[in-house]
């Protein structure tokens, strides 16, 4: 069976689903953050595949911006996690319940 657009979209959906379950199942904030990154990457796979099969540049350029935003997001997010760890000495999500109730 020749590889077409559907194969790439299926791969993208699979990666997104794996990242989603990582966010749901893991309790370590850093791993949850990595899974969020995986979901972003899954979206970029779909964008590049669409761009390739329609022979346009829009999707490719959008991936460019996603990469930049992801880099900025990681920097800020990890700074928040470090600040959180300095204050509470933990990054396990079940211990971070200051906003509960």
């Amino acid at each position: 069976m020749t590889v077409g657009l559907n194969h790439y979209l299926l791969l993208s959906a699979l990666l997104f689903a794996i990242g989603f379950f990582g966010v749901l199942l893991r309790k370590n904030t850093l791993v949850i953050y990595m899974c969020l990154e995986l979901m972003l990457v899954a979206a970029t796979v779909a964008l590049v595949a669409f761009s390739r099969y329609n022979n346009t540049m829009a999707g490719n350029v959008f991936v460019f911006f996603i990469l930049t935003v992801a880099a900025a997001e990681v920097a800020v997010g990890l700074a928040i996690i470090v600040a959180l760890f300095r204050r509470r000495q933990t990054i396990q999500v079940e211990d971070l319940n200051a906003l509960k109730n």
Binding site: L30, V61, E73, A75, A83
Partner: protein, 171 residues
């Protein structure tokens, strides 16, 4: 031949992603993410987006994962004992699993009806010139905004990593 490469890279990527979620050790998770991103870069090469594949390796695999590893080793916060899930967590997990399975399979059933006949077209995303042309004409304003966003992120990180002595504790 390209099909074989696609299946190889796709399997590699999915296995590494699953390993990232499944592995207990945080450092192993980060390294699995690194391998997964390299696999995605391979997929990008198969889609003729060579610049994006290189950027994927430089920015994600190089900078982002290195930052993650740095923070993991700095904090040294391993998993510890984890409480078991509640019943509601199992129910919501089951429902979301069912929904995602249906979503993924609907790509297969009702997805785009394009076949893989792309050999004749010169891929527009393979040349660097097209990226430069697009980024500095059509997408000039977004480029400026993203540059500003990076500046704001840098300032935010500097402010966040300051010590706040006068803040009372939220325990």
């Amino acid at each position: 031949m390209a099909d074989l490469f696609f299946y190889a890279f796709a399997t590699f990527t999915v296995v590494c992603a699953a390993a990232m979620v499944g592995l207990k050790n945080t450092v192993s998770s980060a390294l699995a993410l690194l391998l997964c991103l390299v696999g995605v870069a391979g997929i990008f090469i198969l889609l003729d987006a060579f610049l994006l594949a290189a950027l994927m390796v430089f920015v994600y695999a190089g900078a982002v994962v290195a930052l993650f590893l740095f923070i993991i080793m700095l904090l040294d916060a391993q998993g510890g004992n984890r409480k078991p899930f509640k019943k509601t967590a199992y129910v919501s997990g089951g429902i979301s699993f069912a929904l995602l399975t249906v979503g993924v399979l609907s790509f297969w059933k009702h997805g785009a009806q394009t076949t893989g006949e792309l050999g004749a077209i010169v891929p527009v995303g393979s040349t660097l010139k097209n990226y430069g042309e697009q980024l500095f004409t059509t997408y000039l304003l977004p480029v400026q905004i993203v540059g500003f966003l990076l500046l704001i992120a840098m300032l935010g990180v500097i402010v966040l990593s300051k010590k706040f002595e006068d803040l009372e504790d939220i325990k």
